[in-house]
């Protein structure tokens, strides 16, 4: 499957990926509305970790043997038969956080506003290239067949 590859040596910590991810997963798809006017406020599904000069953008690896799929008690986490991506069916999710307990990369966020639900990378279902990759100015994340 096509996956997002991380190149930590190129990451500048600008967090543009987080911004574009949040907007992509908002209702309005407009940056100002997404940040200021939506309830529940959308969350970015990519996380930039930063310490001193070191930084990198991290999102779900869509693991082959995904522990989150085994831990999900509602069946809302499932693997998309076509893309192989691990997707959360947020309507079905009850926010039990079993998935957060087991994801070894810590890339599932808790949406607590409104209806509780797990929030994670869906590889921008519908887009040819995930928006974080599209907008990274330094190719610190790329989308490749692996």
């Amino acid at each position: 499957m096509k996956r997002i590859v991380i190149h930590e040596e190129y990451c500048m910590g600008c967090r543009l990926c987080e911004i574009h991810c949040l907007v992509q997963h908002s209702k309005s798809k407009q940056i100002i509305k997404a940040y200021k006017g939506e309830f529940p406020k959308p969350l970015p599904r990519v996380l930039v970790e930063e310490q001193g000069y070191l930084s990198f953008a991290l999102q779900c690896r869509h693991c082959e043997d995904a522990p989150c799929l085994e831990a999900c008690m509602t069946g809302s986490l499932h693997r998309d038969a076509e893309t192989g991506a691990v997707i959360c069916h947020e309507d079905k999710c009850v926010g039990c956080w079993m998935c957060i307990m087991v994801c070894p990369l810590g890339v599932i966020a808790r949406r607590r506003e409104g209806k509780k639900a797990a929030s994670k990378c869906d590889l921008c279902a519908g887009e040819k290239i995930p928006v974080c990759v599209q907008h990274c100015p330094n190719e610190a994340i790329t989308f490749e067949e692996r």
């Binding site: 009850v94 926010g95 990369l105």
Partner: protein, 437 residues
């Protein structure tokens, strides 16, 4: 007589994951599944959400309604397997259907423990592990004016029922035999935080005590009160008994399959009998933390074992590495996660107990608690209260037995993340999936 290549007894977490694993390898081999519950596969942990009106009945489904068709499963629902003959490779159902199999999976789960006590058969006394239980409780509450309830057992299930009852405006008293609630998974500090929060939502927790009798009220045959060990009496219209679940092994026992406290399995999840596998709450598999075989009745374990057993039944050869007890539960608005060995006091082995190290961060006013238990510089247990984000990083470190000596001062920081880990391990985590970092 029905003949099938694969037969699965059970229709819950372990069974469903086994079906999916079998179908990854063998698209067409005939597959039958039997369950004595008359429902499509549902998520057992959701029954308390259902009771508390947080989810509708349709939302209980663990898989979409086309699951059996998609996976070519012939499902016998609402029919019980009454006997198993290992030599003939045959089972008999209650309605006298005979099924002959090549490979069998026992995914029979657990059943609620009901301690003997006077009054246990009164109307208004329930256990709480199945959808039928939840429906009975719901109906009882709707038809009788339940204002006060007693929950016997302050473990995970007892507290989840408590939450549901509170949501229905019922006043709950929890009766716990140990000196604190959640004593099997939490340490004293974490138990205290939750106990305080439960009191905050109007529940009473009575510890170090037990119910010795349930008495009927004025209404004939219905619960009116419980009597505790010290003779004190608590008025209530309903009693939920949630003192634990035990592996359901009756079929296996009668068939002569080796048992411990659960069905014994090898590392491929095969029982003592060739071609018969077992998975889930019914099983006693190796516990990586206790370092001995032990039933670990949690959903992720049931799912994982179901998958592995399924692969192996279909000709694969996967090893079950062992279980790590863990749970994530939000009680009285406080999210908590506990993984592995959370309190050295739980260990019987004194030498091992004394070799453990603890690091912790307790902010009492905010009810924030983070505790990490270390053994030889490796994490063996974690408790997180209120700050649970990215908890899985710890779980990963436990599973992979990573030496944390070089970064242990970062472990408790609120921004602890992959960047705090050694570069090599970070690489390994993502390279495992064929990706560089």
């Amino acid at each position: 007589m029905v003949k099938t290549k694969y037969l699965i007894i059970g229709n819950s977490i372990a069974a469903v994951n086994a079906v999916e694993a079998i179908r990854e390898i063998d698209r067409h081999g005939s597959l039958c599944l039997v369950s004595d519950e008359p429902y499509h596969t549902y998520s057992r942990p959701l029954i308390s959400y259902y009771l508390g009106n947080k989810v509708e009945e349709e939302a209980l489904l663990y898989r979409p309604d086309y699951f059996y068709d998609l996976n070519k499963v012939q499902a016998f629902l609402g029919d019980k397997v009454v006997s198993l003959n290992c030599r003939e490779k045959q089972v008999v159902l209650e309605d006298k259907t005979y099924i002959q199999f090549e490979k069998l999976l026992l995914a029979t789960g657990g059943s609620a423990i009901m301690p003997q006590m006077p009054g246990q058969n009164l109307a208004g006394v329930f256990t709480f592990t199945t959808l039928d239980d939840a429906q009975r409780v719901k109906k009882f509450i709707a038809t009788h004016q339940v204002k006060k309830a007693v929950v016997i057992g302050g473990g995970l299930i007892g507290l989840k029922v408590t939450e549901a009852l509170v949501a229905l405006n019922i006043q709950v008293t929890i009766i716990e035999l140990a000196d604190r609630i959640l004593s099997a998974t939490f340490d004293r500090t974490a138990s205290r935080i939750i106990e305080r929060a439960l009191k905050g939502i109007g529940c009473a927790c009575l510890t170090n005590t037990t119910v010795k009798e349930i008495r009927q009220g004025e209404e004939d045959g219905r619960v009116g009160s419980v009597v505790l060990k010290d003779e004190s009496q608590i008025e209530c219209q309903m009693v939920i008994v949630a003192v634990g679940v035990r592996p359901r092994v009756d079929l296996a026992r009668e068939a002569g399959i080796s048992l411990g406290r659960g069905i014994l399995v090898d590392e491929y999840l095969k029982t003592s009998v060739e071609d018969i596998y077992a998975a889930g709450d019914a099983v006693e598999a190796y516990d990586l933390i206790a370092k001995m075989p032990r039933p670990v009745a949690i959903l992720p374990t049931a799912a994982k074992q179901g998958r592995i057993a399924g692969y192996n039944m279909a000709g694969g050869r996967k090893v079950y590495e062992g279980s790590i007890p863990m749970n994530s539960v939000e009680l009285a608005g406080i999210p908590t996660i506990s993984v592995g060995l959370t309190d050295p006091a739980m260990l019987a082995d004194v030498d091992r107990r004394n070799s453990l190290e603890i690091i912790q961060d307790y902010r009492e006013r905010e009810s924030i608690y983070k505790k990490i238990v270390l053994e030889d510089n490796r994490i063996v247990g974690v408790i997180l209260v209120n700050k649970i984000d990215r908890a899985g990083i710890y779980t990963g470190l436990i599973k992979d037995r990573v030496d944390v000596a070089y970064f242990r001062e970062y472990l408790l920081k609120d921004d602890f993340g992959l960047l705090s880990l050694p570069r090599e391990y970070r690489k390994h985590m993502v390279i495992g999936q064929g990706i560089e970092i």
